[in-house]
């Protein structure tokens, strides 16, 4: 079974890049353009991991992460990414319940493997499956 990932980014190009990279790495990829859209998609998609941009219009990524954590009781892995590489961003992401933090520009060569590790750690039954990202 492929790991399911939901990518949240309001910037179409960046959304597309993450989608392409993770799709090529063997993830089942779903996308959302805003926090609100993400929350409505979550029950339908039931992803293993949500990769979210912190700077979102309306409800921002940190609030989204907190909401997901509250609703799903930690059953979904949350990874944050942001181009806003200022001091303290990473800490705020962890405080909001994110399990990992990536600075943009994303490293297309390492990102899939890092995400895969996060998913495997939480869902061991998936790890036995063949993993094209490795």
């Amino acid at each position: 079974m492929k790991p399911k990932i939901l990518i949240v980014d309001d910037h179409p190009t960046n959304l597309k890049l993450a989608r392409e990279v993770l799709h090529a790495a063997g993830f089942e990829v779903h996308v959302a353009g805003s926090a609100e859209e993400t929350l409505s998609l979550l029950p339908l998609v039931a992803p293993h991991l949500v990769l979210l941009d912190i700077a979102l219009p309306g409800m921002d990524g940190l609030q989204l992460a907190e909401t997901i954590r509250a609703r799903h009781d930690g059953s979904i892995v949350i990874a944050a990414m942001t181009a806003h590489a200022m001091k303290g961003d990473d800490q705020r992401a962890y405080d909001a319940g994110c399990h990992a933090y990536f600075a943009k520009p994303i490293d297309t060569r390492n990102l899939p493997a890092r995400l895969r590790e996060l998913v495997d750690a939480r869902f061991p039954h998936l790890a036995t499956h063949e993993d094209p990202a490795r």
Binding site: P12, T13, N14, E20, P57, H84, K87, K104, P105, T108
Partner: protein, 1236 residues
Amino acid sequence: MPDFLRIFERTPGIFLVLDREFRMVAATDARLAATGTSREQIVGRNLFDLFPDNPADPEASGVGNLRASLERVLESRQPDAMPLQRYDVRAVPLPDAPFEERYWSPLNVPVLNRDGEVEFIIHAVDDVTEFVRARPPETEQEQTNLLLKARNERLGAELHRRTVELQRANEALKSLDEAKTRFFNSASHELRTPLTLLLGPLEDLLGRADWDEDTRRQLQLMQRNALRMHKLVNSLLDFAAIETGRVKPHRLPVDLAAITREVAEGFRPAIEKAGLELRVELQSAPTVEVDPSIWEKILLNLLSNALKFTWEGHIAVRFRAADHHVLLEVEDTGIGIPDTERPHLFTRFHRVAEQRARTREGTGIGLALVKELTELHGGTVALESAVGRGSIFRVTLPAAPAAEPIALYAPSEAPRGFRSEAESWFPEDQPTRDAQSSAETRVLVVEDNADMREHLGRVLRPHHAVEFAPDGPQALERLKGPPADLVLLDVALPGISGLELLQHIRRQANWRTVPVIVLTAWTEESISLAGLASGADDYIEKPFRPRDMLARIDAHVRLARLRNASAARERSLRMEAESSRRTIEAVLAGATDGFVLLDREFRVLQLNAREAEILGRPPEEVFGRRMPDLLSPAAWQNAAPHLERAMHERRLVTFDHFLPERDAWLEKRAYGLGEELGVVSVDITARKRLEAMMAAQHAISRGLIEAADEGALADLLLSELGRALRADVGAYWRLAEDSRALRLDRERVFRTDEQIDRFIEFSRRLEIPPGHSLPGRTWITRDVTWIPVLSEDRGFLRREQAIAAGLVGAIAFPIVLREGVGSVVELFFDRRFVPEPQLVRTLAGVASEAGQFLRRLQAEQARRQFALIVRSSQEAIVATTPTGVITSWNPGAERLYGYREAEALGRHIDLIIPDELRDDVRHLRARVADGERSEPFETVRRRKDGTTVPVTMSITAVTDDTGRTVAIAAIARDLTEEKRRVEVERHMLQLREANRRSEEANRLKSDFLAHMSHELRTPLNGIIGFSEFLVDEKVGPLNDRQKEFLNDVLGSGRHLLRLINNILDLSKVEAGQMEILPEWLAVDAAITDVVNSVRPVAEKAEISVIATPCAGEFRVYHDPVKFRQILLNLVSNGIQFNRPRGEVRVSCSPAGEDAFEIAVSDTGIGISPEELPGLFREFRQLRNAPRGRGTGLGLAVTKRLVALMGGTIRVESEPDRGSRFFVRLPIRGPAGTPLP
């Protein structure tokens, strides 16, 4: 209905009402007073004829500004506020009077008629002249400050300290600002280079045909992002260039309409992709001189802004040129701008918070740039906006007309960046709406067949704006809207026939002249003819040739326009003819001389209308009757001897003829013609009455000299005026004690009659409130008021009594005191009474003289009361003669100055003036004595004990009745305590304000840096990510050249990222945002970490890195991250600028007791001695270093980090041998670091 005109004229504001031609229709009294004009002088005249620019001042631009503003009001039908204007208006209403400078803050407000057209413009003005001029005398102010400082040593020192603080804060702020500007400037330049390197290969790649669609799309995405970055960087550059004053408008003769169209049309795809309509409304304009690149940037930024915040509706670009100005309008139907945001809208880096926008990207520079560029070009930006309805930005630039446009203005690269940015706001693959034509012709097509509609749409759309009505009812509905330019009408419609519809069109007033082309499938000529007969302009048979149809539409639209223009011309000619006919009739009817021809028996043979009027009968009653029968016996007796003499002696006889029955005087010239007598009559009643009035006025003036009280005044007025005007009775009304009603005070009867006594008796019982009866009306209007015929005036309270007494007409005038109307004089006549304007003016003059008399009486009384007040006042009140001899000295003055009254009286005022102020005071007193007004001011005075005392001083002239200055009063209040408090408060306030500004500026710039970081990284994510993805052949296999080019893109992208990170570090240090978190760390471990991390790179470059450890466990107290960064930068540099098989050594040694030193040496290319001094500056790259390896920022960042950590860095180098960098740091962290 109240007299609105009068109410308006009395309104205290400065208002002028203009019609569409800028003719003055009405003005308030305040306006007349301000411009020194009279109503008769201005009403009906053109504003610009009366207030020309001051010819002596070439800089006067008030009139040009005003005209531009008024034209904007006509154009936009919206109020238009003008900036502070300096108007030169004539000081007194004489043609040769000098111009005087006045500062006005004007607002022009349109008054729309029922059709929504501008009918009038209200020109409302705040006169701020006094405000602008009001400045305290500066020299005196400065001296006051000096004296104060001396007096209050302690306070002065305190103030001085604070002033220094303040200056320091301001200087720090200023230099921080300059540093940042310099920095943005050089950073932006540096960013451009890799961007260009990135765009080049991308374009090459895109130029190839051998891409699959997927790859091409990705490349296009990369390109779009790179273009956006390019735009961002360019905006930064513009901003920095303005900041450093390096932008000067480069004016070229250009066809601005064409440029505007080109730039606007460039945005069309993006706008239409957003589902919006773009309207481009250009008025072709003569060639003007404008900097086209500034124009282009202004327009691009406004369009980009409009698109960002508009979700439905349209974006309109309007351009027009007028009178040395060009006007650009960008209107949107977007979310609008709340009032609270307006003050900051054009501030740099300011971004409207929490708005629904297409993107949150944005630098906060766009609108600031628009404003700064506009102002650079000498223009203005105005904003009109309503939340939820949209915004209009109006840019007005001065533009001199020029002869010929230069052949071609090549548009810059700028639009590309803006467009690609705008396009990135929309999700891809969204179908674009049918492009609609921007053509100005609107064609309404009434056609029931859907296929035919589609076909017509395809034919017409590229040339015209097309609307469709698919059936009769919808077409009828459409006729209620604004008319189209042409109607294309299918004759065969369901429900209603095309011909019926045509008749509807022709009945509709605003559609009547719209050309209609009938579209018919029937070829029978009769149908076509019927169409033409019922009002169609042309017909076209189906099937038709598209080109033919377009040509005919074009021809009819042009024809219709010509027709409309000539109809308008004809209308105006007809009106002109009509008005000249009326003028002639008016002249004839208005002839002022009467003429009558009599026979020997004095029978009337012939007369004109005027003479009939004089005789008081219709002409047909007069013909053939004898003159003695037409006049009263008394009147005939006055005339007969003169007429007989003229008749018999056949000569000209001139005489004044009094008609007692009409109280009229005629000057008659009778010509004896033998058998006939010609008599010309001129009405000189007014002149005669005035002669009497002037005599009366003279008598009153003389009498007032003797008059002792108001009773004497009343008697004088009633007797003199009553006699002069041949009144029957006169009354003098006075305001009751409670000021609520008028009561009869005195009367004078000229015609003895019992009924008149009754009338007086009745009047005595009345209490007349304001507005009632004749005295009450006069009370309200404060002007001469009359009732021609009392019996016809139902509002006149004593009507019955007056009729019984034979009183017919009446006149009254008020006597105005300081606090309002004090009394009213009323006169009654046995005849109809309508005063001539001259009489009204004379009465007003008498009233004013009487008012002066009463005011003088009041003043006498007030003076007695005033003396009491002066004695008891807390303030120091000193009166002197105009030459300065003290004549009055109150107890307040004794307290303040220390001299007793007896000591001061008779001395010169210089007694209390400090020596250094004497000249100033003398000048000021001389000006006040000459009638100049002086506002209260702060100064100092000398006391008896030699000390000075700060005071608020007000100096006034005391004048006598003739306006001559008889004394000068100086009123002073002790300011010692207040002065001290205010001074301290003011300085504190300034300090706080400076600090607030400095904090605000820093916060803005920090926000900007954070924002920049995000903005620059976001597009890099796409560029680096996609090129990595492609290089890794995740999309498909690449050939070698493709791979090589993509690696170039990737390399440039990464370089850019390094550059941005360095820039951010640098900025953080500059902005004081780099935080240091020191801890105890082992130096050796840190060195080993760094050396290990660079090893892979070093090995690849065949460089060996050797670390020499310190002796023992050497620990220092520093921020580990920053410490590693310093090491990493130096070691990476050593590797980068080395030669193959070279080496880099890192060592550490103690330096004295408190410091240690890290040395990093390489065997590389070295640095020449002349390049050493600037080595640590930003963007300093070595001449012989390989290009493109470093960011030019590494050493600059390193140096700053070292400094931040309390250390120093130095370098030794020898070209071709290598360099050695030494970093010396304190062991226990920067000085003052508290240790754990």
